[in-house]
Symmetry: C2
Subunit: 282 residues, 2 copies
């Protein structure tokens, strides 16, 4: 049980994390830090946070500081937080990229007080209104560079995530970013691009609205995700994402060529191969 | 209430349709027709059909014949069925493409007994085991070339779909195929291609399995769809699909270029535009 927990950012992930801590009796008092006053007001009204404070005051009185803001802003703010830590305070981030941050903090004198994590859970919504109870349950949490964290600190955070119902996976930061490009970041790009494709070509919006069935909704769902959150993720994970994106474009071109050639056999083959994804998905 | 209904194909759509007819008291006896004996056995065991008969016998005793098989096989079998109709029998198809079929049957002497429909509902599963109760509810059904059907026949089928909880939309066959390419067919291609992308590049399957979160699952869900069903859809709707596919590849290339140029502003703009799909989706 933490007496005081600061969440930096009061959005989908941090807000859901705060609710989960309270729900599981892991935190007494939750402090919200945000540049956006209206978000703090909303988070207070929703009972996600107990008080709102400026960063320095908040950090000073907290046992745990949980950072979940866009990954470019994370780099700046984490350095500030790490510099002001006293012993026994713990800092955790929840960013979708891990290499840039781990690399930046590698030599920091307080590195052992930091645990780099990526809870693989989310929805296409953002902001404090998007925070929900019972988030994280049954999802995977990646912990990166675990040997760089203090053993007890690591164990404390492992226990928090386990209590929230998460399954833990360990990786170095570079592997995390590669894997995340394949199973998360590319899905967002294809969804955004698919939404733009349909918006571009289909001028009779009413027809989209009328005909859009479940399949369409599920492939473009992520297109509603926050640009502010995803722009820095794509830029920080640029090399991995470009690699997957090139492969994806070439896979689409295989369909295109098969179609142009009326090659039923090749279309079948491509789809039969794709079907094997079923054994990988739950 | 139909005394005898034949479903040609005993799979996801036809099976769910049969269950819905029974559930709503619209059919007394359901006859299954299929080339696959095991599917007929399964459909009998699951109570989807009451009996299995060869096509000719089945059609002869049916008030309504409902065809839901791959769209290439549909062209052949529909011609056979149309040739053997006696007055007052009704034929309906449920295919995902409409132009080739409507064009083929345009001059058929029994054209008025046929209603061309596309219930915009489905899942990624196929076969009689995939048939479920309460399918179709709340989804849209497209009816094509309605003026080519007899007025009473049309009304009968409209009432069936309405009783099943569907919302009706009317289109000419060509418009249907164009719209379906945008809001359904392209989603399937991107899903298949995304699955192949990840399977191709990611050799550590365990990592995919561990990290694949909800976003990935929703964008590749359709990759589990039946190649036998989708190959002829893609080929019949080739021109429309190639057009959308080209646009989609060019949208992906916009992301690629923005990323290569570290162009945060352009990434934001692309995603903000994609966000507007939210107002179109329910």
């Amino acid at each position: 049980m933490f007496n005081n927990v600061t969440i930096v950012g009061v959005g989908l992930i941090s807000g859901s994390f705060a609710l989960a801590l309270k729900q599981n009796g892991l935190a007494k008092n939750i402090i919200g830090v945000s540049r956006t006053q209206t978000s703090l007001q909303t988070a207070l009204q929703l009972g996600i946070i107990d008080e709102a404070l400026p960063l320095e005051e908040a950090v000073k009185k907290s046992n745990l500081i949980y950072v979940a803001i866009p990954v470019d802003a994370t780099l700046t703010i984490m350095q500030q937080i790490m510099d002001m830590l006293s012993p026994n305070q713990i800092v955790v981030d929840a960013g979708s990229t891990k290499y840039a941050l781990c690399n930046l903090l590698q030599k920091h004198p307080n590195r052992k007080q930091f645990v780099a994590t990526h809870p693989m859970w989310g929805t296409e919504y953002s902001g404090p209104m998007a925070a929900i109870k019972n988030a994280f349950v049954g999802s995977t949490c990646v912990i990166c560079e675990k040997n760089e964290s203090d053993t007890n600190t690591l164990q404390t955070i492992e226990n928090v995530y386990k209590t929230l119902g998460m399954h833990l996976v360990y990786m170095d930061a570079q592997s995390h970013d590669t894997h995340a490009a394949y199973v998360s970041h590319i899905s967002h790009i294809t969804s955004f691009a698919l939404a733009n494709t349909v918006l571009e070509k289909e001028k009779q919006e009413n027809a989209i609205f009328e005909l859009a069935a479940g399949g369409f909704a599920s492939t473009v769902r992520l297109a509603k995700s926050s640009p502010a959150m995803w722009t820095p993720i794509f830029l920080q994970n640029k090399q991995n994402i470009l690699e997957v994106l090139n492969e994806h474009i070439s896979q689409l071109q295989k369909f295109k060529t098969a179609l142009e050639n009326n090659d039923a056999q090749q279309l079948q083959t491509l789809m039969q191969h794709a079907n094997t994804i079923g054994r990988i998905l739950k």
